[in-house]
Symmetry: C2
Subunit: 510 residues, 2 copies
């Protein structure tokens, strides 16, 4: 195993911070994991931003094929050290090795998806990069999207997309690879032509170091300036905000808590020159169980539901935290089967002691909430920072806005609705969500669909929201406050547009 | 001529305001034009927003072809009453009838461009609306963009775009038709599936009334709910801000001054639930004259330059207000010829007395600015609110950030640069712009191009920035503070995306 050094990566240099020291903690055992990671501060932010700005001109001048090669090189390095990544990530996050092995493949696959788009091979690519990427054709990094031909006294106009500039990326605790250092935002930004500065996540600093080195090595081997990629360790409220407010940073990608996401979005909005900020914050992913579905297979739905709720200790942004079940035959059988399945859940370690504490407090809040009934609890896990599953229920009449607050973990609330109108009424009052799911069909589903189209970034007809496929059509985003900007996605190839803007070239030679 | 009533249009109702009364003024004569328009207030905003929200579900459920027919119907009505529109607009704005006749055609053409995209006929449309718009296919207004096919245990995912909701539109003084009631933002929002609430412009209320009635009649004839379109008269700081902060409004389009644009963007950012805001504010549209171009045809360039500066009394967002001329043979000849052309300019009425005052003050500010030399003034026009053209020059060493402030009108400043490096250094320090133009070629142009790609939304190679072609490839937008959001355009078919967001349909039946 490569020796971890505890160092930041600033451009091509390995730098030891001089601030507070943190260590990762194995949530299964509570054990502290070497090495120490010392925080950077303003000087490191300034240096990383200066190098990113310096590198931007050279990097955006690369053609789509060079960027594709860079992404493929990062992907290959991640795959090559999958074993080490999985081992370190498992000890830092408590996530099972099988899940993390899949996540490495997802992360390298994601990089390769953007690479294949850049190589303009398949259908989905052409719309975003133009059928004939004008590589080296006088457009410094711009790629043609659509063309208005020249006419009588009117020059040709080509529409391209140009990269915005250095991008700050903040990873999530719950995907130490796919939403972290070499995750979706980094892949999209590099594909777009933007240098990247990552703030490494405190909960998996060693995994960050391994992935960060893979990116930095790929940058070096491609002969690109080191400033194309930096990774800093630091305190969110100070180093994180310094990064977001640095005038050289032109966009921000973040996945995490609502509190941190709002702080980042707020700091960015207060800049003298505002920039695009994409914070993915929280979602309870409402699921609507219609009478026909409940009547047809209550036990099957319950089993799938609890499987989705407890997957990865419920630590997914798309965890189904809220279910609107429309009363009728099958509802009681559904609840009974779900309660039994929750009770049988063995529990699992959570990502960090802090997340486990917040989860326990969230379930306690539900327990104390008038009208809410705890239907079942899972078994108490042995892990130091464990998640004990919880299933709660409430009558529609007792539902209120407080109950749409996310309890991050394997906890879900079923809202018993008297009829479809009651469910639709509550759905109209919900906050923006990443996903919304319908089980059932017929006229009821058709009435519900347009309501959910206003609510969420992804609509599922059957199935469960956990499991976000990486592809051209995926939208992992949604109305505020699920994200700060619903016009985009953090998963899938459309994400490249987060870090570009359209530009028109009028009469510019090809 | 249709009798003007001075009434607002709220849904399908004609409503007389109860607030302050305004009248249009003919800037050529200072004459007040009947009728009076009385401002609305909070009650009218509330009513228009409630009707728009009510109409949204029915309107977004329309298929692309129904929306196309609506836009075509509006376009036909504008063309049919072109004579009246031109006559009223000419008296309200002082713009020449020929220009306004062209603007009616531009406005109806713009509506038809979105309509043709909706009908998915030509190439540019398919990327945005999908090759097979799934009209009536279970997606309530969503239109497929890309598809990830179903696989082993994985459902099909289709990416569509859904409309955001009611849109508030604020038109500009300088395009009483193309950037006003039935202008680009309204066309894009209606194409996207969003109801529209327009705040009519105080400087051309009668033109607004005529155009507003055309839209309202088209909505009525299509059998759509009246709330699809409303138009209010009102005070910007009160009614305008009430509209922007109404929770039912989901996006804002604005073209106008930086002061008003920043007020709107600020009010929207302070909403509990922020929304996309597209304010186009100001731009001086830098032009770079390289030594080869200046040496080759100094007089020709000067003639074109002054033509662009004085067109429409310089009242274009794309007016070339700043020229960086790289010294060498030809620069003096260029300046001499430009000065002569400015001196020969007869002047023209400006849009309003206030705009004429601000213009005169802007030129006076330049006159007093140390280092700036007024090279030539045009003739004083006879109009009550006239624009007397002005050409100024400054040495690069005396240039400062204050000199990039827009003087709205026929005024332009030439910056004499010693060499290309000096021009590039100044270009790097400029604020975001709508356009940037290069005259010249060779290595110098190639060095300049990437700098301008960071600066502006449209790059011209030769030509002059006034005259914005409506098409699929146009980008009329640019980095802050030219606009509040560079990821979009206010002219051309890409503008439809301002008012939509992507959505993924997972396993949803076709």
């Amino acid at each position: 195993m490569a020796r971890l050094t505890g160092q930041m990566l600033i451009g091509s240099e390995h730098v030891t911070g001089t601030g507070e020291a943190i260590t990762a903690v194995d949530p299964r055992t509570g054990e502290r994991l070497a090495p120490e990671y010392r925080y950077g501060g303003d000087a490191e932010v300034d240096r990383a931003c200066a190098l990113a700005e310096e590198a931007f001109d050279a990097y955006r001048a690369t053609g789509p094929r060079e960027r594709a090669a860079l992404l493929e090189s990062v992907a290959g390095r991640l795959d090559d050290q999958a074993g080490e990544l999985v081992q370190r990530a498992a000890s830092e996050t408590g996530l099972p090795a099988a899940r993390l092995t899949g996540e490495v493949a997802r992360t390298s696959g994601q990089l390769r998806l953007f690479a294949s788009d850049l190589r303009a091979a398949p259908s989905g690519a052409t719309a975003r990069y133009g059928a004939n990427p004008p590589e080296g054709a006088g457009l410094a990094g711009g790629t043609a999207v659509s063309v208005d031909p020249a006419g009588e006294g009117v020059p040709e106009i080509r529409q391209g997309r140009v990269p915005l500039g250095p991008v700050a990326v903040f990873g999530a605790s719950n995907f130490p690879l796919a939403f972290s250092v070499a995750g979706g935002d980094t892949a999209a930004a590099l594909a777009a032509g933007c240098p990247v500065i990552v703030k490494a996540h405190d909960a998996h600093p060693g995994t960050c170091e391994l992935a960060g080195r893979a990116v930095a090595e790929a940058v070096r081997e491609a002969g690109l300036p080191g400033g194309v990629f930096s990774m800093l360790y630091g305190d969110g409220p100070t180093l994180g905000i310094a990064l977001v407010t640095d005038p050289r940073v032109q966009a921000v990608g973040f996945t995490g808590s609502r509190k941190a996401g709002l702080a980042i979005a707020g700091a960015a909005a207060a800049r003298p020159r505002p920039i695009p900020v994409y914070t993915e914050m929280s979602s309870v992913n409402p699921v609507f169980l219609l009478p026909d579905a409940l009547a047809e297979r209550p036990a099957g739905l319950a089993e799938e539901y609890v499987g989705s709720v407890t997957l990865g200790a419920g630590q997914f942004c798309t965890n189904p935290g809220l279910v609107f079940a429309v009363g009728g035959p099958g509802l009681d059988a559904f609840l009974d089967a779900a309660a039994s399945a929750i009770e049988a859940d063995p529990g699992a370690p959570m990502l960090t002691p802090g997340i486990a504490r917040a989860y326990a407090e969230g379930v306690e809040r539900l327990e104390r909430r008038p009208g809410v009934e705890i239907l079942a609890r899972g078994r108490a896990p042995e892990a130091a920072a464990g998640c004990r599953a919880a299933l709660a229920a409430v009558d529609a009449g007792d539902f209120g806005p407080d109950l749409q607050e996310e309890v991050f973990g394997a906890c879900s609330l079923v809202v018993r609705c008297g009829d479809l109108d009651e469910a639709i009424g509550l759905a109209r009052g919900l906050e923006g969500q990443l996903t919304a799911t319908i089980h059932g069909g017929g006229e009821a589903a058709e009435r519900l669909l347009p309501v959910l189209e206003r609510l969420a970034g992804r609509i599922l007809w059957g199935g469960w929201p956990t499991g976000v496929r990486v592809g051209h059509a995926m939208v992992h985003g949604g109305p505020y406050p699920a994200t700060s900007d619903a016009r985009t996605t953090s998963v899938g190839s459309l994400a490249v547009e987060r870090f570009q803007r359209p530009i028109a070239y009028q009469g510019v030679p090809r």
